[in-house]
Amino acid sequence: MNAGTNNQVPSFVVLQVGTRRIALPREGVAELIASPLIYTFPHTTPLIAGVVLRRGRILPVLDLGPGVSGALSPSTRFFLVVERHISNAIEKCAIPVQGACELVSGIMVPAADLDGYVTGHLDLNGEQIEVLDLEKAIAFSASSGNEWIPATEALP
């Protein structure tokens, strides 16, 4: 991950979920980790593909693939650790990512439709990267109808 250089310009983490590149505001991202194992067990919560162990903590693995790229994310050992605000508490979760993540600075152009999970766009050398509102993306993915990740199909 490349360090940002300008504190005045907002920073974003660009990641690849499935076949799609997206960005998240830097503030909500804790770290990028490599975890050799994802542990799965039966559950019925949409999007959760399992859990990983990180420094003695158990982090749920949230696969944004079904909502963001239309398919479960391919198997990976890299996870972006993000912070969710749930019930007035912060919980770290791991998002499986493919390829390298980048830390970039840039001015986001706000989206025209603020009701969606895309809050704006970044222009990265001509490539338009959508910036997501993580909680809205999770809610959208969970309600998109293909959010169910059977335990038997979850990431290994």
Partner: protein, 183 residues
């Protein structure tokens, strides 16, 4: 009983300890507190009297088994956890609830030193099924909640549809009752 922490590990010296039974259903492993298990039997050697439910309102419960003057609803483990069909070979007869759980295998007894609350991201039936998560030999395993196999509401439904059956399992009237070597 080990008190759940919330997703952070208790300092090593302060960790309470709890004996657990490690069991598996399909490809998944679980633990359950040994103190909540009355008996572990093979399905072939369970013995007792098996009564078929006239009205199996829950797909995971089709029988009652009576053993030693007590009766238990027999809960299919794989159906409880919404898993593919499996081959149960063992029965966990629970202590404080009228439940006997069919599981595929008993793996081992172990000592649980940490019990972490379910992460808040989990919002489904697992909050009923599990007391939390533990780590044994660097594997994360769910800790089964004994009262989660049949909730109070499910027990009530079973009782409502099969009134008096659990209490009268040894003396049923108009129900299919048979000595059985396997469940």
């Amino acid at each position: 009983m080990t008190q759940p922490a919330h997703s952070s590990v208790i300092p090593r010296d302060a960790r309470p300890r709890e004996q657990v039974v490690l069991f598996s259903i399909g490809e998944y492993s679980f633990v359950i507190s040994a103190s909540s298990v009355q008996e572990i039997r093979g399905t072939d050697s369970l013995g007792g009297i098996v009564v078929d439910l006239d009205r199996p309102v829950l797909s995971k419960v089709r029988h009652i088994v009576e053993r030693d003057a007590r009766s238990y609803y027999v809960v299919s483990g794989y159906e409880h956890f919404h898993l593919p069909l499996s081959r149960p070979t063992s029965v966990l007869i629970l202590r404080d609830v009228p439940v006997a759980v069919l599981v595929d295998r008993i793996e081992e007894m172990a000592e649980m030193r940490i019990l972490l609350g379910m992460p808040r991201s989990f919002r489904g039936e697992e909050l009923i099924w599990y007391r939390g998560l533990t780590v044994l030999e660097r594997k994360v395993l769910p800790v089964a909640e004994p009262r989660g196999f049949l909730t109070a509401g499910e027990l009530q439904r079973l009782e409502d549809e099969n009134p008096g059956l659990l209490q009268n399992a040894g003396h049923p009237v108009g129900t299919s009752r048979h000595e059985r070597e396997s469940v």
